[in-house]
């Protein structure tokens, strides 16, 4: 099995917890270069579990998983996982910035320690990323001094510092005050325009309509449908998808 064009290949991926509950149930999907895939679904449907398997934060039981041409085993080969993590960025719901490091140190730690880049060069790169995110003036502050939206933009800058080929977003705006959501979504729109491949777990319908190339809808660990956003939001193929959309769009 080789899928040279895709950066994510998933075939028949399954994972169950000890109680027999299926977190992931026979999932197959692919993501191409530069594609933006938005993952939607009710809570507990396995969205987060799915994208966390993409950088090895979550293991799986059976199936085939290949990220950026690197095969991941169910048991998780440590060497392959680290190789993937160096090339895949992740942004979390709770930001997870390192509170004891300055904004600049948060961003430069991995480039210096993992990629062994020169400190000066890593700092210059970090400052340009912060400038793109519109938060250059915060470089020497600490995370607790920033608002949620600013912290999340720092987290995005941190995930970009290793010059990744793929970004994973796990509900990036769910923990934000409503008036702070757009500044983060704007930064993500910019990235999509620049051709960054992204998998985004989110409930932001506007963002999905505008930015997604495809929308994946999950329920109870299964893929219900994968459609283009205009089809999904106006005329979803599956009854379960339509019911979900009716509930979130009033």
């Amino acid at each position: 099995m080789t899928f040279m064009k895709n950066i994510i290949n998933v075939v028949n991926l399954s994972k169950s917890y000890s109680a027999g509950i299926k977190a992931l149930d026979d999932i197959s999907l692919d993501v191409g270069k530069g594609e933006v895939l938005v993952v939607m679904g009710p809570s507990g449907s396995g969205k987060s579990t799915l994208i966390r398997t993409f950088n090895g934060l979550e293991s799986f039981d059976t199936g085939y998983l290949e990220i950026l041409g690197i095969r991941l085993d169910p048991n998780g080969d440590e060497k392959n996982i680290r190789e993937i993590r160096k090339r895949v960025g992740m942004v979390f719901q709770q930001f997870n910035l390192f509170p004891h490091l300055s904004i600049l140190e948060n961003i430069t730690l991995a480039p210096i320690k993992v990629q062994k880049r020169q400190k000066i060069e890593a700092q210059e790169h970090a400052l340009s990323l912060l400038s793109n995110m519109g938060i250059l003036s915060h470089a020497n502050k600490y995370p607790s001094q920033l608002s949620g939206g600013e912290q999340q933009r720092v987290a995005i800058a941190r995930s970009l510092a290793l010059k990744p080929d793929l970004l994973l977003f796990d509900e990036p705006t769910s923990a934000l005050d409503p008036e702070r959501v757009n500044e983060v979504l704007d930064a993500m729109r910019d990235l999509a325009k620049k051709g960054m491949a992204m998998v985004v777990v989110t409930h932001e319908v506007g963002f999905a309509k505008e930015v997604a190339d495809r929308v994946l809808f999950m329920d109870a660990g299964r893929v219900i449908e994968i459609s283009k956003p205009n089809i999904f939001f106006q005329n979803a193929k599956e009854e379960r998808s339509r019911r979900f959309l009716n509930q979130i769009i009033k």
């Binding site: 090895g56 709770q94 997870n96 390192f98 004891h100 607790s144 001094q145």
Partner: protein, 301 residues
């Protein structure tokens, strides 16, 4: 008006306290005089007359009691400081084992901590002395012996010669305290949110790099208070040296009190010497704590 009332209460309290202490000491002093024992430290300058099994300083039986006690205090300091270093290293290693992905290391950590905490320290010291160190044979004939050797005469590392008593005490105290420190370290690491582990993994840091750069710095505020308690316990537990015949301050005071009959003065010296020692440990750790807290406050507006 309220302020002057407060001060009045404080002054009354202070005077009563001093009065109470004065009465107690006066009572003691008068009784000692009446029984013709007296309260004096003159005897400190008389020759001790007993030999010491171990001394880092020049000492002979013709030296004074004061000098013998000082040598004992230095011996205590020696065993406390070296056990402190070894137990800390051991505690950090075992504490990190408990968070390892390796099942065998986790198991080792929990068995070690479980076992050590169930057995009285005195029994453990006896074990290290009689079973382990006195159990070695006397032969030092193998060709490594001039670099490193262990025998029933103790441990030899190059020119450093550790007596059997010191070695047994060092192992006993370090292994015992190490188990408690491992738990303090584990608790500290658990205080760091799991999102921090996920974040450092996601940016490609290795487990060791992540623990060193991300987890340990954030767990220090939770670790230091517990560590201070363990260090103070270690210092106090070192008085069990008398059980394996190591000449620490307590063992020497015991002999001195027996010979001179000066129990009250002897215990006063013992109390003050431990007070002094533990205050040093407390202030050193307090300094470390302030440094860590100050570093944290810098991050919050």
């Amino acid at each position: 008006m309220r302020i002057s009332k407060g001060i009045f209460v404080q002054i009354t309290l202070a005077i009563s306290l001093f009065l109470l202490i004065f009465i107690l000491f006066n009572n003691l002093y008068v009784n000692l005089i009446n029984k013709q024992i007296g309260f004096t430290f003159n005897w400190l300058l008389r020759p001790a007359g007993f030999a010491l099994s171990e001394s880092s300083l020049n000492y002979s039986p013709s030296n004074s009691y004061a000098w013998a006690l000082f040598v004992g205090w230095i011996n205590s300091l020696k065993i406390i400081l070296s056990s402190l270093i070894f137990s800390t290293l051991l505690g950090i290693i075992v504490g990190l084992f408990s968070k390892s992905k390796n099942k065998l290391l986790r198991k080792f950590s929990s068995i070690y901590v479980g076992l050590i905490r169930q057995i009285p320290l005195l029994v453990q010291l006896m074990f290290w002395y009689f079973v382990v160190f006195l159990g070695f044979n006397n032969s030092n004939n193998d060709h490594y012996s001039h670099f490193f050797s262990v025998s029933n005469k103790g441990i030899n590392i190059l020119n450093l010669n550790l007596t059997t008593e010191f070695s047994a005490l060092l192992f006993g105290l370090s292994v015992f305290t190490g188990a408690y420190i491992a738990e303090v370290i584990r608790g500290g690491i658990n205080s760091v949110p799991s999102g921090q582990w996920e974040a450092f993994k996601s940016v490609g840091l290795s487990e060791i790099q992540g623990v060193f750069y991300i987890i340990i710095p954030q767990s220090l505020p939770a670790i230091i208070p517990g560590l201070t308690s363990q260090y103070l316990n270690l210092a106090k537990n070192s008085t069990l040296a008398i059980a394996v015949g190591y000449a620490d301050i307590y063992a020497i005071s015991d002999t001195v009190i027996n010979q001179t009959g000066r129990a009250i003065e002897g215990f006063l010296i013992l109390l003050l010497s431990f007070l002094f020692l533990n205050l040093i440990i407390t202030y050193a750790m307090e300094f470390l704590n302030r440094f860590v807290i100050a570093n944290q406050n810098r991050r919050i507006r």
